[in-house]
Symmetry: C2
Subunit: 512 residues, 2 copies
């Protein structure tokens, strides 16, 4: 009775060990892979003259460009809290808004154009799902203060170089480029100007985004009166004229019998000719085509026009946010979707020109263009293609020196010190369990071998180096294995050597 | 009038570009130094068999072991905010409490003992001052599940190895070791047991901490009736008996005419003999001395008893928190304090055994010991001793290809691509300024050289590589410099070569 009465009390006092939803821990394999991946990206970015910068995780909410939080729900979307002086602070939700604050704060002392890169965790208080977290890592590069689209072109080529450095084969990725001004021009030429028609413009953007799923017939219906799908549901269309619809379809360069990828396969010159026709008569549209032509010339000159960087009208997402060129890094190799159907892996990063970024602080527009990589998504892709940069397996564990006799712990510690001095990761078993549990511990650590010295070996001045991989093979060896093979395997699994040969014997096993 | 009426409105709408107080940005030199430093620490920790782990920045407030926030001031000390389901979340204020949560959550699948390391930013909402920030980085290593003090000894030796790997010379640092149980024993033997006498115990701890400033006379007064300082102010003492006072002074091993460092200089054996005498009759105290003796034997066996790791009664800070051995990494080289007086640099990290850490989650004590490095303080120390691991100077900037003729930008871009392909960090000038401003830009980037091709050079198929360092020397050259030297310097400052020799010429200058 006493026990039963006491236990619930104890349990009530215990704190439940759990991380809040949408927040994850990372183990050694994932950390090592992500570090190697980011180091490789850094090397490419520095080759392009970009320099590192870091900003704090907490900024004034107003500096992040968000409206002040709703007092009843201050953490909607962005985590926010009040400082001692009642000013609102927020955890950064991307790396772009803090960069704008940094550039504005240090405007006079920074070199301009200012090329910088930074990686770090950002926080969004949104519903999470598979692969969606409330804390996740981005890797950004931005050029601030360069009005020329050569800055945008450079970032596109840098993104291509970074993907190849990471082990993505040429042909397995494409950097797609479009321009907000071109789309504005197409819409203007189709009679939908910027100020009014917001709803119609959105319908058009969404329709273009559906080309690869619906084909041109379906999209033309969505651009016109509307479309009835297989289930009989009707989606209201944008109500454009036939001429406007034809212009937009021509702009996309879409052919239903084509490669299936919108515009891709056609070369940049053909795409630009389509664009020119589609924006005819729109000043802004023509400006956009001129910008893309200038970028295409730079891709040509640098040899990136071989399918690495492609002008592509299908990039429409985010276009409402950016003010000039937009670009997206897409991995084109196939994976299976949740229904087992083959699909392209898809986007691992994107960006574009957004000239309004620093203006909020300085009152004058400052040209800026930047590119952001979703670190865990890219990591997942690299693991999928088995890039040597990343590794899904746990790193090899240290050599474990077993404790056979507690009185001799200083001696065992000496073996460990000798191994470490020789650059071999090694440790003394520090638990209180017996030999079998110690061997299991070494297995769990993914150690290749253990060092053993019982009283017999000590008397002879010897140690045993046990190869855990060969030992496991020995355990699984067929009963009818020829005796010679068995003995050879046994010898391999366990070496007895003099103490002086500890390092040599261990390195021998580690080198197998 | 219109202008004047408009401008204030514009200014009012502008957001001020500033980071909240106590939060700092980091530039490329500091980031590069910190990364190299942490990479070196990681290498040593992995050599010792510690594996990486990372936890999120946000945890349940209760999991961090804090009381729930005061609703009126939820951000006192720790930044806290409520989740959608009204549960309190906090930004982590150290890396230890999240580790305890992680270990408790993954207890069955982790190898035990579990050795891990992690580095990352932590957040404290405290008053900040010089060198004190609300976001700062820690680098921790912990062993969970090892009851033996061999685990504590290992971490002490690992800390010593890490400091040497970072360029701190042997003799310029000391890892000081003490034990909470010994101090408990001393206080118990002096008649101050744990339950009552909390105020007196604190007076004793504070008095011991003042030995190097007040000498033994002053401290004996503080342990007895009290002490009047030079200004005539009186500090009430602990009121201990003469026997108790003598015991405590003997425990500290302090000699006023000594090295000035408490107990340091005496060897571990002498210190342990002092400890034994001071705790005589106290069971807990004797247990503490036995633990320290065991650690000392391990330091002896591994050769760390040469002044690298020293048992030292002066380590009293934090003793109230820990439950067994405590250790502190102190840099002993001298720096000037704010009054220009020479002082030791002091502590860069510390830790100890705290067996209650995981118990809050599991209801049973889990032995744990760990060590935490203050990253920016250690970085400051390494910069002070000019360790090659860190560098206070900005990294060398990229080679800048100047834009002399906007029509030829694709050609310039080609030079840049050629340099990058050869592994040389290079960039195209992307601003809109003229040649002088472009040269100033390259200076600001800390570039060693620029590549120039005007129309004259283009006609000849040549480029000019301008060495900015030699160029600066040329600008400062004395007027009466011999003409030959001047010409040699001039030739060095500016090389004209065929386009095909671009990479060779640039590498030649970079290698100077």
């Amino acid at each position: 009775m006493t026990d039963q009465a006491d236990k619930p009390t104890l349990t009530q006092n215990l704190v439940k060990a759990r991380a809040p939803r949408g927040l994850a821990d990372r183990g050694p394999a994932e950390i090592a892979s992500a570090n190697r991946m980011m180091q490789a990206i850094r090397e490419i970015y520095e080759l392009y003259g970009f320099e590192a910068v870091e900003t704090p995780f907490i900024e004034y909410t107003e500096a992040l460009g968000k409206f002040l939080p709703d007092l009843d729900r201050p953490n909607e979307g962005v985590f926010s809290f009040q400082d001692d002086d009642d000013q609102w602070l927020s955890l950064r939700y991307d790396l772009t808004a803090p960069l704008a604050r940094y550039v504005a704060e240090n405007f006079d002392k920074l070199p301009k154009p200012y090329r910088s890169y930074r990686s770090g965790f950002v926080f969004r208080n949104e519903k999470h799902g598979p692969g969606r977290f409330r804390q996740f890592m981005q890797f950004d590069a931005d050029t601030v203060g360069a009005a020329t689209v050569a800055a945008d072109a450079e970032i596109c080529m840098m993104a291509a170089d970074a993907l190849e450095r990471l082990g993505v084969a040429r042909g397995d990725y494409v950097i797609k480029v479009n321009n907000r001004k071109v789309l504005d021009g197409v819409l203007e030429a189709a009679g939908l100007d910027d100020q009014e028609n917001t709803a119609q413009r959105l319908i058009v953007l969404r329709a273009i985004d559906k080309l690869d799923r619906l084909g041109s017939d379906g999209v033309m219906q969505l651009l016109g009166a509307g479309r009835k799908d297989e289930s009989g549901d009707f989606t209201k269309g944008a109500g454009l004229s036939d001429i406007a619809i034809t212009r937009i379809i021509n702009f996309t360069g879409w052919h239903d019998e084509g490669s299936g990828a919108q515009g891709v396969g056609a070369n940049n010159a053909v795409t630009l000719a389509n664009f020119s026709a589609a924006v005819e008569g729109s000043t802004i549209g023509e400006k956009g085509v001129a910008e893309l032509s200038q970028m295409a010339a730079l891709f040509d000159a640098a040899g990136y026009n071989d399918g690495r960087v492609v002008i592509d009208p299908s990039v429409v997402r985010g276009l409402e946010y950016y003010t000039g060129p937009v670009y997206e890094a897409e991995l084109t190799f196939q994976v299976k979707d949740e229904h087992g159907r083959p699909v392209r892996f898809g986007s691992v990063g994107g960006g574009g020109r957004y000239d309004g970024l620093v203006a909020r602080f300085r009152g004058e527009p400052v040209p800026a263009t930047g590119f952001s990589i979703g670190v865990s998504r890219l990591l997942a892709a690299l693991q999928m293609i088995k890039s040597p940069i990343v590794s899904a397996t746990a790193p090899q564990g240290p050599v474990v020196v077993l404790v056979m006799d507690r009185e001799e712990i200083a001696r065992y510690q000496g073996f460990v010190a000798t191994l470490r001095k020789a650059g071999v990761a090694a440790e003394l078993y520090l638990g209180s369990a017996g030999m079998n549990a110690q061997l299991k511990y070494a297995d769990k650590r993914n150690s290749r071998c253990v060092v053993i010295q019982g009283s017999n070996e000590r008397a002879k001045g010897e140690i045993i180096v046990k190869d855990l991989v060969a030992g496991a093979a020995l355990g699984k060896a067929a009963k009818d294995m020829p005796r010679e093979d068995y003995l050879a395997l046994k010898e391999r699994a366990q070496l007895a050597v003099g103490e002086a040969h500890l390092v040599t014997a261990v390195k021998d096993v580690l080198g197998r």
